[in-house]
Symmetry: C2
Subunit: 216 residues, 2 copies
Amino acid sequence: MSEVAAEVLPGRAMAVLSGPMFADEVARGLPAAATIAAADERSAAFIAKSLRTRNLKLYTSDDVLGAQLGGAVKNVLAIASGITAGLELGENSRAALITRGLAEMARLGLAKGARAETLMGLSGAGDLMLTCFSAKSRNTSLGMELARGRTLDEVLGERRSVSEGVFTAEALVSLSRRLGIDMPITAAVHRILSGKHTPGEAMEDLLARPLRREWT
Amino acid sequence: MSEVAAEVLPGRAMAVLSGPMFADEVARGLPAAATIAAADERSAAFIAKSLRTRNLKLYTSDDVLGAQLGGAVKNVLAIASGITAGLELGENSRAALITRGLAEMARLGLAKGARAETLMGLSGAGDLMLTCFSAKSRNTSLGMELARGRTLDEVLGERRSVSEGVFTAEALVSLSRRLGIDMPITAAVHRILSGKHTPGEAMEDLLARPLRREWT
């Protein structure tokens, strides 16, 4: 988004707000926390001071790219999380999948120049876990429907809201190929969305991957 | 644990198994993933090959300390997570609290010589999110009871199982003071458990902390 914004509004200062926030809860004044990132961290601090309320905690960062990356990748991982729930694979498998998804997010982020700590923070792990564990998430609920045997067209045809992860999955698969990064969960979601695999087949595939180091 | 084990069984090779695993689900054969860490990673690979089943994925690591740290700290953070749920503060605040808790876990881990990636992995973020989001966790359910106004003695008096976080909170507060590490959520849980603050007061305190960088 910041690249698009810089094209449309060249030369303007820009900041990114991202974190685990369902808008309806923020509007109701319930506590929340998020990251404000700007290339010049003094801008981030100025905006954080201006927007901060008693119940909205804002943390500053200068990692503009990292702060945007989590919010995009998490939508794809939320579809996968919904699939594990819909297939009734248990809470362990869901947490494992989200954590291995966080590893994919981190590999992509580091390759693009983001900082690991940003991906561990509110805009990364925070937004990821909120989205992946909540039935309120449109992407998670899409995954649940797919796991129950409905087709993508059926589910999207009934919806007036956008399930962003459908578009992001394709973009991430191309990007990861170009950068030579292993993103098996993202690739599995893409195979399901494009009808190449059923949710069950894609999960079997992920489980069959060989023994490896947790981080390489 | 590995320090205690080395005292009791000097000179033996040792490995640590840790990850997001409720034992009942593993016993039922549902998919799960975890980390096997050993100082000599070939031992870890040998054990991983021996224990691995079709539905239990094991990843190897040589970060023995890091693989143990998440499992201890997460019990304290799960009490805090249960408190946000019991106080009905919303899903945003729960995700924010867990993420800021992960930052505390990372600060402590790095100070003790663990690797950041381990804390981002299955034994860290993975185990943390499983425990903090599940009503099955004894520590999370303890936090929920405390938030509803019951006392620690009342809740523990009814239980035959252990809520480990109660003991760990005190140990972590001493350790963080000794190492000079900021662990505000852990400290808040300790103040609640020792009766110095109500859950509501402790949450107010956390929200009132001044503007800061997300990572320093």
